[in-house]
């Protein structure tokens, strides 16, 4: 036995090792420099060598008992897979797609859930206004003390009016107001009504209803003092955006909850995952709207004290949101 042929798996390795080494070099470059640095030929070679290596791995698992070779191929194919299937996104592409259609399409698809959220808000508001008309003491039941401040049934009409038209001249005071706003009541409500929607919609529904109750109680109080229109203007300038944001966040929660409640033909896990695609976009839109509402409340409401102008700005911006939701990305579909 002077000339023995190398065993099968050794020959297998000898025939393919050059390809593996080439692939390893390419993968290393992608890992350190990113795939956009490869030339056209190199990217094509990467994809081709990856498939060859995957085939090698499949064969090696069957015919080879060389542990080092198997471990090497496993990791090489894994790394090549990661290089080949890396997300090929650009920042402008992601942002462009979000604003150019995917977000508005998600909003359009969630029409029912959004309607549900607005109905819950309106129901809460109507309920609280009715109850307040019967007995002003209901105000304290609905409105938490911190939120009410000195605005309550006990306050004089003049105090209430002054609250609506206060002007903070100091820029930094406005910044502070803006900052405080972002972590204020409504942002928390929006966040929770989105995140808790998973529990079969119930917490979201309750939170939205509750927010409606607070709103209704204020409305009842101010309308009682003949300040209805002024309150409407005060609320409109940021409230159109803010309440819509609240409704969208709750609608996102509803989408998740509905997916759990009525999964249809899918498993609940799959159904939740499918619904999360729209729900996440709703959450992003809602947080963007809350940001805008914060700016409007922190700066706009202090700078603009004319009720008509407040209403115009508020509803004008509301119309812009609506236009974005209804029109963006329609042609593409």
């Amino acid at each position: 036995m002077s000339e023995v042929q190398p065993i099968r798996s050794t020959r297998f390795r000898a025939e393919r090792e050059a390809d593996w080494r080439a692939l390893e070099a390419l993968v290393k470059r992608v890992e350190t420099q990113g795939s956009h640095r490869l030339s056209f030929e190199e990217s094509r070679a990467l994809a081709e060598l990856y498939r060859k290596a995957a085939t090698s791995l499949s064969v090696a698992r069957d015919i080879s008992l060389d542990q080092n070779l198997l471990i090497y191929l496993e990791s090489l194919v894994a790394r090549a897979f990661l290089s080949v299937y890396a997300p090929q996104e650009s920042l402008s592409g992601v942002i462009g797609r979000f604003f150019g259609g995917s977000a508005s399409a998600a909003v359009r698809r969630s029409g029912m859930a959004i309607l549900m959220a607005f109905l819950a808000l309106a129901l809460g508001g109507w309920l609280a206004a009715m109850l307040f008309a019967q007995d002003p003491a209901w105000f304290y039941t609905f409105v938490p003390g911190g939120l009410a401040g000195d605005r309550g049934p006990g306050a004089s009409t003049e105090t209430l009016r002054a609250g609506l038209f206060s002007t903070e001249a100091n820029l930094l005071g406005q910044l502070g107001a803006f900052a405080a706003y972002l972590f204020s009541h409504n942002t928390r409500v929006a966040l929770f009504s989105f995140a808790l929607g998973v529990f079969a919609c119930v917490p979201s529904l309750l939170l939205t209803l509750y927010n409606g109750l607070i709103l209704g109680a204020f409305w009842g109080l101010y309308a009682d003092r003949g300040l209805g229109v002024e309150l409407f203007g005060w609320l409109s300038i940021h409230g159109v955006t803010e309440l819509s944001a609240l409704a969208l966040a709750a609608a996102g929660g509803f989408r998740l909850g509905l997916a759990i409640l009525f999964p249809g033909g899918m498993t609940r896990k799959d159904s939740l995952r499918a619904a999360s695609k729209d729900a996440v976009k709703l959450a992003l839109v809602a947080s963007l709207m809350l940001l805008v509402a914060g700016l409007l409340e922190g700066f706009g409401r202090q700078l603009v004290t004319d009720t008509t102008l407040r209403i115009t700005i508020g509803w004008g911006i509301g119309a812009l949101w609506l236009a974005w939701f209804m029109l963006a990305g329609r042609r593409a579909r």
Binding site: A14, D66, N68, A78, P87
Partner: protein
């Protein structure tokens, strides 16, 4: 006779205690990835938090030099800045660096889409938005927990418990965000290809009969492989390696009944030759559907089915083929 745990079985148990998952890419060849441990993920998270906090602090310091008095609003300003730095930081790094934040890079971890088609923008955004709800909100509340009432402290405790239990309870260590986005966090693989042991063998020195090769299986072969691959750096460890090679060679010769004497100087040559012959023999058997996972393969036949899934299915596939041929 009570079955004791064989070394091969212990090795297999240790292997399975590291958590793996197979991902099937469009090419159809399953690829194995190792699930990241919670300690490594915690470390990565800590580093990322540190980075975002440092950026936030830097911005605050710059703002402090401007002619404004930011002192009354500094806490809420810090909270907003942190949120506005944090969310884009995680989302953009994971999206553009293929599932790696700076912290994950440092600890060698990576986020991976479970469906085998790469990470999508949606998956990255979803898992990082959930991170706000899962980690940062309870974290911030925890810092402020002294000022909360009993009820909210209970809620907070429950919240943290749920967030911790979810990744601990599922085998793949997915937190809630991972479950919704359908992603895993895995350990980045490293690849080192060592020379093939069989090819460096002088061919005419030692001969083995098929009967002598019947004794061992895959596990023993690969144990021998790792022994032969042991690298020695110091004089002392080289000496120890030589001694263990001599012992192993003696053991093998006794077991397989190899009569001819092997001088101590040629012991490594002998083991290489035996390794090559044994590997050729076992690979040949394997091609014909006789998978020998370790030396107990005959006495302990149900064992083959417990072998790593892949090998078991292989075995069944070849059995199936054999019976198929029998019929035709």
């Amino acid at each position: 006779m009570a079955r004791t745990e064989t070394p091969a079985r212990i090795a297999r148990r240790l292997e399975s205690s590291r958590r793996w998952f197979s991902l099937v890419p469009p090419e159809g060849v399953p690829i194995r990835f190792e699930i990241a441990g919670l300690a490594a993920r915690f470390g990565a998270q800590l580093l990322d938090i540190l980075i975002t906090v440092v950026i936030m602090a830097a911005i605050i310091i710059v703002l402090a030099f401007l002619p404004f008095d930011i002192e009354p609003v500094v806490t809420s300003l810090a909270a907003i800045l942190l949120l506005m730095i944090r969310a884009p930081y995680y989302i953009l790094t994971e999206l553009f660096w293929n599932g790696q934040t700076i912290g994950k890079r440092a600890t060698g971890l990576r986020v991976l889409g479970a469906d085998g088609r790469g990470l999508t923008t949606h998956a990255v955004v979803a898992r990082n938005l959930m991170k706000e709800v899962e980690i940062f909100m309870p974290g911030t509340l925890l810092l402020a927990s002294g000022g909360l009432g009993l009820f909210w402290n209970l809620v907070l405790t429950l919240w943290i418990a749920v967030v911790l239990i979810v990744p601990l309870a599922n085998r793949k260590r997915q937190r809630l965000g991972d479950l919704i986005a359908n992603t895993y966090v895995m350990v980045g693989p490293k690849s080192v290809l060592l020379p093939d042991l069989s090819s460096s063998t002088p061919t005419d020195a030692f001969d083995f009969t098929p009967a002598q090769l019947e004794h061992y299986g895959r596990f023993e072969l690969q144990t021998l492989e790792s022994l032969l691959r042991t690298e020695t750096t110091t004089q002392g460890s080289g000496e120890r390696r030589r001694e263990s090679l001599i012992q192993v060679a003696a053991q093998i010769r006794r077991k397989i009944g190899y009569e001819a004497a092997v001088p101590d100087s040629r012991v490594e040559e002998f083991l290489h030759a035996f390794y090559t012959a044994q590997r050729a023999f076992l690979e040949q058997k394997r091609i014909f559907g006789d998978v020998r996972d370790d030396k107990h393969h005959r006495a302990d036949s149900p064992f083959n089915h417990q072998a790593s899934n892949h090998q078991a299915s292989n075995h069944q596939a070849s059995n199936h083929q054999a019976s198929h041929k029998g019929r035709t």
